[in-house]
């Protein structure tokens, strides 16, 4: 038998039934829910008189709409009435259907893709879905994880399965070693810059090679998180000792004899050496430098030593038009050096970069320095209540506050600006989030995607700088 990829193995072990028409039913081990994409699903379930197939597979939290200030005041204190109603609706649905939920203010609450791994609710070998495209994050654990729409949220609640068709296998091998001061965020932005925003469409991408293996679990989550920005619903990394070490002892992790059996099973969660991939891409990890996006989608990115492109140099009329439109929206000049881009706000947070290591990296850069006077606001939004607690134990909050950063409560915050945290029209933001789409962080806002260290350095300098010179 030909070797199987990691994705093949995960698919095979979750196949409930293969239908004649090519579709299949796939079993879902973990379903994560949040307030934005679930209300219509719960409503559909009620209207049809259905109940959740397997309650214990579900875990819910509120993250997109929650304020990042004064969460202890409770849901009733959320100022925006539509946000408040959506958060209340999840509370009511979880209570009515008896779904486990970490409510706002619970220290275990936070961004859904941060808390899953943090709780051990995401385990190697699982299928994990959530009504959010960044569910790809959980693939860092050798889990088959992807985002779904609201109809599928309802489908998973009702059946514990999804109707699926097998994706293609793609492997992105990042050679190593990575250069000094180069982070997981730089790696994934460089990958997207190389393969494009649709480079992985229809595929499950396995990230491999020394450049990936050398990353911590948190770094691998950052990489898998943005697989969707390369068009792939699924990002994967093979299981190794780091995976198992990370999972060990978490609240939802297996224990005792279960743990030993699980670890034995998980060691097989790697692609066989003779496995065939439909697409193979090699990225030279040794030449990646800190990345900064200059345009309005994540493939519009370059290294810190680079320049904004000149549309006149582009032959394809559609690509040229897209760059011209992006430069106009971003208020940038062709050929402008990246280092000359000045920032109005800095946002460190989001499901891409709000874990403890991200905050440590940023704190190391800002320690003893001050946010530039020209920067209106620099904010740190931890990914969960537990990340916040840990950072405070380490004194990171003091470093940030003394440098002039705002230290906030957990949530999605300015990544998509559904709560009060947002950019004003025309403002440039160094952001550790995942999407630089027009208006994503606020109508007219101009997002530059960077790593936490790069965002921190930009906050201090007031413009982009090569953080490697600061380390």
């Amino acid at each position: 038998m030909a070797g199987r990829t990691l994705y093949d193995k995960l698919w095979d072990s979750h196949l409930v039934t293969q239908r004649d028409d090519g579709s299949a039913l796939i079993y879902i081990d973990r379903h994560l829910l949040h307030e934005v994409t679930s209300p219509q699903a719960f409503e559909g379930l009620s209207l049809a008189g259905r109940t959740p197939w397997r309650l214990a597979a579900n875990l819910a939290t509120v993250d997109h709409n929650v304020p990042t200030e004064n969460q202890s005041a409770g849901v009733s204190a959320i100022e925006d009435p539509t946000s408040r109603l959506q958060v209340q609706t999840l509370d009511e649905n979880c209570d009515a259907f008896r779904v486990t939920q970490f409510k706002m203010g619970d220290p275990r609450a936070g961004i859904v893709h941060v808390i899953g791994p943090e709780q051990g609710a995401t385990l190697p070998g699982m299928t994990v879905v959530c009504g959010d495209s960044h569910t790809a994050t959980h693939g860092a654990f050798g889990a088959l994880a992807h985002g779904i729409g609201t109809s599928e949220v309802e489908h998973v609640l009702a059946t514990q399965c999804l109707v699926a068709k097998k994706m293609k296998n793609m492997r992105v091998t990042v050679t190593g070693p990575l250069g000094f001061g180069v982070t997981a965020k730089d790696v994934i932005l460089a990958i997207i810059g190389q393969i494009g925003t649709a480079g992985g469409t229809g595929c499950a991408i396995e990230f491999a090679g020394e450049g990936i293996q050398s990353l911590s679990m948190e770094g691998r989550m950052t990489v898998c998180n943005m697989a969707i920005e390369a068009g792939a619903r699924v990002g994967l990394v093979a299981v190794d000792e780091k995976t198992i070490e990370y999972v060990k002892g978490r609240p939802y992790s297996p224990q005792g004899a279960d743990w030993d059996r699980a670890v034995e099973a998980w060691t097989d969660l790697v692609s066989d050496s003779d496995a065939k991939f439909d697409h193979e891409v090699v990225v030279d990890g040794t030449v990646i430098e800190p990345q900064v996006s200059w345009g309005t989608n994540p493939e519009m990115v370059t290294g810190i030593s680079g320049h904004v492109p000149n549309p006149k140099a582009i032959d394809d009329p559609i690509d040229r038009g897209a760059i011209e439109r992006a430069l106009k929206y971003m208020g940038l000049e062709a050929d402008q050096p990246i280092e000359s881009i000045r920032l109005d706000r800095v946002f460190i947070g989001s499901c891409t970069n709000s874990r403890i290591e991200d905050l440590r990296e940023a704190a190391k850069v800002v320690d003893g320095k001050r946010v530039a006077d020209s920067v209106i606001q620099a904010m740190i939004v931890p990914g969960s209540g537990l990340v916040k607690e840990q950072a405070e134990k380490e004194g990171l909050d003091v470093i940030f506050r003394e440098a002039g950063f705002e230290w906030r409560d957990p949530g999605c915050s300015m990544c998509l600006a559904m709560n009060a945290d947002r950019l004003g029209p025309g403002e440039h933001c160094a952001s550790t989030s995942n999407r630089n789409f027009e208006g994503r962080q606020g109508a007219g806002g101009r997002t530059h995607l960077v790593s936490p260290a790069m965002a921190a350095a930009a906050a201090i300098a007031g413009h982009f700088v090569d953080v490697r010179e600061w380390l």
Partner: protein, 213 residues
């Protein structure tokens, strides 16, 4: 689910690639807990000149005269013509909800983002994939002075239009059946309830740590 069998209608040419879901329906409208009310905010940032918020009277907002959806020649259109990677970005199903509620029944593009593509089928919106050259031809036809009407026929898997335009498209057989018959996918899956239970029983033996409920 809403059926899709055949649609004949005016075509709106949206000539840009990588149209993301934040453009299709901006996040402030995702705070709604309903499935309806999104059509008026489809392409909100491009369609209106003033910033939009939920609860506004959108009929009184200033329209962007340069945006194709506001061109009166295309009023009543039911087919959206787009470029590569349409619907990239988030998993929000509000995107197909908004497109449908505006009045579109089908989208035609050379490629789509996976989640958007999948979400469309669940709601009776047909995302047709045509070759780049066929899409180019349709853009040339649709951007001429007089708007064009075309027919998307799911049964025969064809798109036909003026000047002898004719193209065929592929579609997954399961999705085709669901669309043609307007089937309830959950109901269909629940017919396999015994298979699901059998899978769980076997899996609980092989991987018991996943079933410590």
């Amino acid at each position: 689910m809403q059926q899709f069998v055949k649609e004949t209608g005016l075509v709106v040419p949206l000539d840009r690639s990588n149209v993301d879901t934040d453009q299709i329906i901006p996040k402030q409208y995702l705070k709604s807990i309903k499935r309806t009310g999104f059509g008026v905010n489809l392409f909100d940032d491009w369609r209106y000149l003033d910033p939009g918020e939920p609860g506004m009277d959108h009929a009184t907002r200033r329209l962007n005269p340069d945006f194709v959806l506001n061109d009166s020649r295309f009023s009543g259109a039911s087919i959206l013509l787009a470029r590569d990677n349409f619907g990239c970005g988030s998993s929000r199903e509000h995107a197909p909800w908004a497109i449908l509620e505006y009045g579109f029944k089908a989208v035609i593009a050379p490629s789509y983002a996976d989640i958007f593509f999948n979400n469309s089928f669940k709601n009776g919106l047909l995302p047709v994939v045509l070759a780049e050259s066929e899409v180019d031809t349709l853009f040339a036809l649709a951007t001429a002075e007089t708007p064009i009407e075309i027919t998307v026929d799911l049964e025969s898997q064809t798109v036909t239009g003026p000047e002898g335009f004719s193209a065929s498209f592929d579609i997954d057989p399961f999705r085709k059946t669901c669309l043609l018959e307007g089937l309830d996918e959950i109901g269909l899956s629940l017919k396999d309830a015994d298979s699901i239970k059998a899978y769980e029983a076997k899996r609980a033996v092989d991987a018991p740590w996943l079933f410590r409920d």
